[in-house]
Symmetry: C2
Subunit: 489 residues, 2 copies
């Protein structure tokens, strides 16, 4: 990875390692609420979010509704300013460290640490720590939080909570501050002005996933065996979270991403969330999106290619391999490094479909994205015990388009791409000639890679495919591949 | 019941039978958004609804935040105008009836008919019919609906949907209008501009109840065996829904209630939702609320005593017996008939706790109430398979205070009343002398009534208690008591 020469990767690398940004930055500019009214897609009625009709021959749609007003500053983060919870290096940090040594301790799991990372950099702005009960309840019931006294509403769809068990609760007693420690008992953060409340797992799961069926990956990993209490409070992180897996340089914070977009003079940022290898259908979509944004009047739309870096289920391709694959995609020119920023999104994955896609979009607003690409069944999976998709594949983008607090985000629905046998490349599906198209599912792709077979020419760039084949080879040669996954340290 | 002389009942009766209101009325006046900022209760942080600090020595609390501004018109219904879906009598109605005879038919269950009733009178304003998918999704995910293009948000927490099975779906085919018929195949309404979409029961249940445990009463009654499709559309009700159970005169519509409140020159309306007999603790709370509202500067606060009249679970006291009991409470002077309106709320009961209490409050806004009394564990019940309350008893009022779309409603938290042995009457619980108080639960009350034993003097007015004892006697003497329950016809 160190040898990567793509400027998409270089940008990330240079900004982080050579020129680290101060943690506290000026607040981002006022939102560039793109004032062009755009019609909802057919069937997306009563929505609140802007659904950009990019799959309906953009120009005409937009022209019919008045001139396009193109903003030139980045979208405002939720709550007006990015939250930064990392204590500055120096005497303050040392004082926190000394204090932490004397406080009751709460041990963090790997996923807890990922959430500390997420919170510390302001991905969940304006949230300033693990949720107290008022925030937890608003998240479960309304997927949004109201700020202050009758203030604005920000989206918040997944609970960001920290579970403790009875013994830990007893140990905390009446104290108002606790130390959060990693697996080696090193203090990572202080949680202050704490509130301990009941962890009703059943209700949390039912309201977040819309099912309580056994086998939901995040539930098995992080909820079933977690404690029966939740502890909320304000977070003061002692030092930036690092994973020491060779990928930390690609973990740009929202502030760093905003700085990078400003440096590149981006006048639009369109985010693409993914947890899978990039094939040429994805790439077509991304390049086509840029083309459409240019047509709409933007001068320099920048793509944020933003693989999820936290917990994923066992059969997803691990982050390190996905990053290698993405690197090849850039290297081989499938995406243009000049207009692409590749960075890692540190959140763990819930696989909570329509509920989670809101979180994925909201976090990207905080990183400066004002356009969000959403596909079929985002954050979805198969039902854990029934033979069907857990979520209606269309609900994700519909719910996203209606979500409170995401009104300022422009939602770009995925156009369906498939392998066009007549052109021998990935192309947008043409319903007038369905017989010419081949749909290659994720399962099909994995099966081919496992068998070291090649997909049709033009499905994925050769270097990217080679990485996938290597990954599945490595699985066969070693059962211990899971050790390769990043663990926050 | 016909002999009731309380003016609370008389009012209801006379307005409905002697002087029926025209169905289409002028829209209610602009909202009297009571402009006094009041602090939230301790522990109710980040809420959006006004929680009136009535249990914290009201005057001082309010005075500290500026003068009270008392409105003199009724609160505005959600969406600005009450929905009225009943076709006017005359040629239009006859035309609908003729048309209905020719349309595909969807048979309504008892609960479906109750929802037709609820919708037809505008309790769910601005909803104009059974939910289409966009409304269903917003209800499940956000407990609210956004009006029009970026418009205001109204609360809507329980899905009001109509299920059909595969055969009915096939019968509807491509038609845009269907007839809704009762158990005797009589057309009740036409549903137009219909949309048929999947009925994901598991997701609906999980997101509405926060559990999928078997044994939820409404689920067993109305969802488990319902069809796998939902049909939404605009409702045109052919004639007003009647039950012919001797209680129709007490079923005032929101428009009729508003007329009654105006007639009485109400400058505040405080609603009390109940599905249980009224004991003197309830009565104390209601009279004390009125006293406090007078202290706040209102000249004529009117109580809406509003028993739920739709589906309830088998062990709840049936509506007809509850109405008899409420009548005694008025007759015996426990509540003042001059400042009380007793009417029946036609909604079926979900027992969905914090989700449902929002519906209960929202519907009362539409009926003109600007204050809503909320107690411990509203719309709650025991967990169907675990030995615990299904919901945290405090969550109902907290969620209500934070619910989007209910900001204009003033929420009055219940003060805990219990039997004060030193005074031999129901009184507000005094935590400084807990030994003096006796808590008489619903279960305890039922057990006493079943055994024909008397509760302590002062727990309930004698006439009201007698009704309860008679009800349980009737259960013993006949297993067929359920036939007494109202069925919409």
């Amino acid at each position: 990875m160190a040898s990567s020469m793509s400027s998409a990767f270089l940008a990330a690398k240079s900004t982080t390692s050579a020129n680290p940004f101060p943690r506290s930055r000026r607040p981002a500019h006022a939102a560039d609420r793109l004032g062009f009214p755009v019609p909802h897609l057919p069937g997306i009625a009563s929505g609140s979010g802007r659904v950009v009709g990019i799959e309906r021959r953009g120009r005409n749609v937009f022209r019919a509704h008045g001139p396009i007003r193109v903003g030139c500053s980045l979208i405002e983060p939720d709550g007006g300013a990015l939250v930064d919870l990392v204590t500055p290096a120096g005497p303050a940090r040392e004082a926190r460290r000394r204090e932490a040594a004397l406080l009751p301790r709460v041990k963090l799991s790997r996923i807890d640490l990922e959430w500390v990372h997420v919170l510390s950099e302001g991905w969940a702005s304006p949230l300033r720590g693990f949720m107290r009960e008022a925030e937890f309840l608003q998240t479960l019931h309304f997927n949004c939080l109201r700020l202050g006294d009758g203030g604005a509403v920000v989206n918040m769809s997944v609970p960001i909570v920290l579970a403790i068990d009875d013994a830990q609760k007893r140990a905390v007693g009446d104290q108002r501050r606790v130390a959060l420690v990693d697996a080696n008992d090193n203090p990572v953060a202080i949680l202050s002005d704490i509130e301990i409340y009941k962890h009703n797992k059943e209700e949390r799961i039912a309201r977040t996933w819309g099912t309580t069926a056994p086998g939901l990956p995040y539930v098995k990993e992080a909820i079933t065996n977690a404690g029966n209490w939740l502890i909320g409070g304000d977070l003061e992180v002692i030092e930036p979270i690092k994973y020491n897996d060779g990928l930390d340089q690609y973990r740009l914070s929202p502030a760093e991403l905003r700085e990078e977009f400003s440096r590149r003079n981006a006048d639009a940022v369109f985010a693409f969330q993914l947890r899978n290898p990039v094939h040429n259908g994805h790439a077509l979509l991304m390049t086509d999106t840029r083309r459409r944004l240019l047509e709409m009047g933007y001068k320099n739309p920048i793509l944020l290619l933003h693989p999820l870096g936290g917990y994923t289920k066992a059969d997803d391709v691990p982050l390190s391999w996905r990053m290698k694959q993405h690197e090849k995609v850039l290297e081989e020119g499938v995406l243009n490094p000049e207009t692409t920023v590749v960075s890692i999104f540190p959140s763990p994955m819930h696989y909570a479909g329509p509920t989670e896609v809101q979180w994925h979009a909201k976090a990207r607003i905080n990183a400066g994205a004002n356009f969000y690409i959403v596909g079929r069944d985002p954050a979805g999976m198969s039902h854990p015990i029934e033979k069907r998709d857990l979520y209606d594949p269309e609900h994700g983008k519909r719910v996203l388009s209606m979500a409170p607090g995401l009104e300022k985000l422009n939602i770009l629905p995925f156009r369906v791409a498939a392998y066009d046998k007549t052109q021998m490349k990935m192309a947008f599906f043409d319903p007038s000639r369905p017989q010419d198209f081949l749909f290659i599912s994720g399962t099909k792709m994995r099966t081919l890679a496992k068998k070291r077979e090649s997909p049709p020419d033009g499905f994925m760039c050769p270097g990217g495919w080679k990485v996938l084949v290597e990954y599945y080879d490595s699985l066969v040669s070693s059962e211990s591949d899971k050790l390769c996954e990043a663990v926050p340290a």
